[in-house]
Amino acid sequence: MANINSVVRKKHRRREKRREKEKKERININIDAKYFLYLLIFLCAISAYFSYVYQDKFAPAKTFVGSILTPMQNGINTAGKYILSKKELLKSKEELILENAKLKEQVASLEALNIEYITDTAELSELRELYSVGQKYSDYPMVAATVISRDSTGLYDVFTVNKGSKDGIKKDMNVIAGNGLVGIVTEVGSHYCKIRSIIDDTSYVSVMSVQTSDTFDLHGNLEMMADGVVKAENISIDAKLKDGDEVVTSYISDKYLQGILVGYVSDIKMASDNMTKIGIIKPASDFMHINNVLIITELKQGIAEE
């Protein structure tokens, strides 16, 4: 009996001690939380201000975090693609039959179009020579890269690929996929880089039409981003653009190399100010399904300096 009593007393004492300790800790944390909040909000504001003013100085910190995340994303992306392929398998037969019928229709119309295009090609190549643009960029040195992650907020169209400064990538390099312009490199880490696509809401590209050599601006637009198209602005009122005209990057731009195919004109109409025209450009590359891109490892500034 005495034994049990002593055990109980011991437990009791231990319990009291722990309670006191916990009480102390709890009070500390409760007092601190509020002041920590003020302090951290203050720090956030300061860092937001400084990272806005000195954007270049903060790049190394961003690169550091990126270099930790990228290998993981790289690995998990493989798993993600696997899941996607399984999801595709789940498509129902009816859907596939419907799609097949639609595709057959499309093939027929494309064949007709193709004949038209073959006749146009001769004319096109003449025009290209005339403007010395077009296929020129196939001579540029290029690096192939794979997309490993895309912006997860849905507000931007920014994606990360698996090539970085070790592969010779530098900021402001142009990125193409298929045969059309995709975007521009905005941030470079040692083994990854970030690309802002031309359909992003913050993106601006100065372009020119091959057929009529009118220059105008492409401005990414959030509402059009979902459809994968870009808004054309500041088209001269005298411009004789018509639907289907080819649009390439112009010589005016200081970051985009000249003569890269961007897309095709559609829907030209008067702007609300009645001084310019606006339109929609359908990009040559498919932004919904970008997996592999080519980065042109030549900067426009480099060419200018030479």
Partner: protein, 180 residues
């Protein structure tokens, strides 16, 4: 013990971020990707209180800032505040509560989306609230809530398990057992 908790918290945040930016990009619903980080922040705040919620929010926000943000502190600020205020739910913490943790996820995700709209569009003079809210924010909120519905219980139980110390009740049980 504190260090172990911080490390585990950081690992959780990084895993959630990697999952949402690599796996869920391929599992979009109505063009939206769920915000897994807010789920983790809200659950931590619910189980552990304001302080822990605040720091988890800060770390999650900083991670997003460094990964995709234009300037450091924009996401950190809102996640920090969300974590802190969600921490008040800890005052009526009950492991079996279902409504409260999901409610905090819903409200905080809504507020965060409105905040992001203000920061990224309104301040640039782009007044497209209707479009952003119905086409981007709302699907995101709903998807986040759906994912939260599946994962909130395991997360709560995990955090609860990690943070549990020998409580008085267990002590009493021991004494009773010894007496018997």
């Amino acid at each position: 013990m504190v260090i172990v908790r911080i490390v585990l918290g950081l690992i959780g945040i990084i895993l959630a971020y990697v999952a949402q930016s690599s796996i869920f990009v391929n599992l979009k619903l109505a063009g939206a990707i769920p915000d897994l980080l807010i789920i983790i922040v809200m659950m931590t705040a619910f189980v552990r209180g304001r302080g822990a919620g605040m720091f988890m929010g800060l770390f999650s926000g900083l991670l997003i800032d460094f990964a995709i943000g234009d300037f450091i502190g924009m996401y950190a600020f809102i996640y920090l505040i969300a974590g802190y205020f969600a921490g008040y739910s800890n005052k009526i913490y009950n492991k079996a509560d279902n409504l409260l943790p999901l409610g905090t996820v819903l409200i905080s995700e809504l507020i965060i989306n409105i905040y992001l709209y203000v920061c990224q569009f309104l301040l640039r003079g782009r007044a497209v609230f209707g479009y952003v809210f119905f086409k981007i924010s709302l699907p995101r909120v709903i998807y986040t809530l759906l994912v939260a519905l599946i994962v909130y219980k395991p997360i709560i139980l995990l955090i609860d398990f990690l943070s549990r110390q020998k409580s008085d009740e267990e002590d009493d049980e021991e004494i009773i057992l010894e007496k018997v």
